[in-house]
């Protein structure tokens, strides 16, 4: 019916233009920029690998920022996924009032990326904020949530964990698709509950675990609002994630070339991890014959 090949192309034209102008061109241009020095006033000046040489061998702030970023990602992503899956498993029991809980858990992830929530976090965890007040009522000394490097990263991490709802909703949908007959068959064969969980549930939802993992990974590497508003990267750069460093290089100091170089390093890390995940996925992600939504 839809045989007109040209017409099909016409419908996707906006996407092709957008792709070329707003994605492909900037993508390559930022690679080009990373080999230049460019302050927006003078013309870009080709410096070869200087930006990268400086970054890797002379810029201790880069290494600090990178290690903070990796710590942040490798703490938040697994914790958030595990927590989301755990709560989804509980919700998957046919309990009364599930919808209410599901909605309540989902609200933070709808609002969580906003400035307003970051502001709320800043005030709740302030030295004289409500969290320290609560701790005070049970006799715990005030915690320097933003004053101490270790605690500051923890507080930022907590904000991300608080937004576990979207991953949970996706897990829950996947769990509800696991056929009950499989569990019944396993029970008849004498399987225990934990065996059913690790042999049936987990393998069947691996595609969704994989999907959630990749999405959370890409997002966590780009976190900006939380640390920018709550801690400004401090104290002692303990929450200075790479996106903050990129922003300050490019849009505060107007070092477009160095900013682009940092962005490409961040992109390369995300890409390598994504490729590793895709390559190893054939060993642990189980695609059943039926259509996966």
């Amino acid at each position: 019916m839809y045989e007109s090949r040209i017409l099909g192309l016409a419908y996707v034209t906006p996407f092709v233009i957008g792709l070329l102008v707003f994605t492909a061109f900037p993508f390559l241009a930022s690679l080009g920029l990373s080999f230049t020095e460019y302050n927006l006033i003078e013309r870009p000046y080709w410096v070869g690998l200087d930006n990268f040489e400086f970054m890797f061998f002379h810029d201790s702030l880069f290494w600090k920022s990178l290690s903070v970023t990796l710590a942040y990602v490798f703490i938040t992503v697994p914790l958030k996924l595990a927590f989301a899956l755990y709560i989804a498993l509980i919700l998957n029991f046919k309990l009364k009032g599930i919808n209410l809980f599901r909605t309540g858990y989902y609200v933070p992830s709808i609002l969580g990326g906003s400035v307003a929530i970051a502001v709320l976090w800043r005030y709740m965890f302030a030295d004289f904020g409500v969290i320290n007040l609560i701790l005070g009522t049970v006799g715990i000394d005030p915690v320097p949530w933003f004053g101490d490097p270790g605690w500051a990263l923890f507080t930022i991490t907590l904000l991300r964990l608080w937004q576990f709802g979207s991953a949970m909703v996706i897990f829950l949908a996947a769990l509800q698709n696991v056929p009950v007959s499989l569990y019944e068959a396993a029970m008849i064969d004498g399987a225990r509950k934990w065996q059913a969980f690790f042999r049936i549930t987990i393998p069947l939802i691996t595609p969704v675990i994989f999907f959630n993992f990749i999405m959370q990974l890409v997002q966590a590497f780009q976190e900006f609002n939380g640390p920018y508003i709550i801690t400004q990267g401090g104290p002692l750069k303990s929450t200075y994630l790479l996106p903050l460093y990129i922003y300050e290089s490019a849009f505060r100091n107007f070092e477009m070339g160095y900013g682009a170089a940092l962005a490409w390093v961040l992109f390369s890390i995300v890409m390598v991890l994504t490729i590793i995940a895709f390559v190893t996925s054939k060993y642990w992600v189980f695609y059943s014959g039926d259509k996966q939504s």
Partner: protein, 299 residues
Amino acid sequence: MRSIEQTAASAQAMAEVRKTERRQKINAVVRYVILAAVGFAMIYPLLWLIGASFKTNHEIFTEIGFIPMHPTLDGYIEGWKTSTEYTFGRFFINTFIILIPKVLATAFSSTLVAYGFARFDFPGKKILFSILIATLLLPNVVTRIPQYILFRELGWLDSYLPLWVPQMFAVDAFFVFMLIQFLRGIPRDMEEAAMIDGCKPFQVLLYIVIPMLKPAIISVCLFQFMWSMNDFLGPLIYISSVEKYPIALALKMSISATESFEWNRILSMTVLALTPSLAVFFLAQKYFIEGISTTGLKG
């Protein structure tokens, strides 16, 4: 003899059943306790925020309860005035001036493109579709700097154009992907019947596909609404004059300004900043949950 054995066996079975029932009940209670505890942790910050916005500054620092003991609207009245020459209302209007064209452009362009991908065959479709999926995973951070330079060359800085224009070209692959997934689930019978009756593809799109796609298009609009409300980095980079600030920038400004000591003002404006998103979410939550669980979108 037999009946005694039977009774004994059935009594044992009954005890067994009762034991399982009791265990199930305990399990259910444990689950509810966990759910309620987690739910409380989820909702507590929001409840505290709403309560605190009606408190005096002194009470915010000293009381942990939700309910203000001396409710006051001071925070709202003073906060609304802001430390600038504009009221908070101005920032609300700016936010919607950014938001509405952005949402409409997204819905329009994503629908066209998704229709093209889901229903037509054209040269290069496979490659384009793979690129579409790849851009889902492309971190925006890598394209942001040249985009900024591009918009600067075009003279679009300090205007809303950098926030609007890209959306006319379906740059958010998420939305296109979501609509394609939805379209794939709709049988083509109706469209084919209409074509036999002489409808052109564009008429089919307008009169048959869009009405069927309506729930998915609404989901697209809602998600774009939420993401744009939450967007901070875009306006931060592109908008420099205070008169054009959306809420996100105005809030950030207020915590940096001297009024940051006036907690209740900032918390009141934070409540207002969250109100549109919360209202939209509760009015249309079924679209969110369905949208996210059928296509696996981020939230």
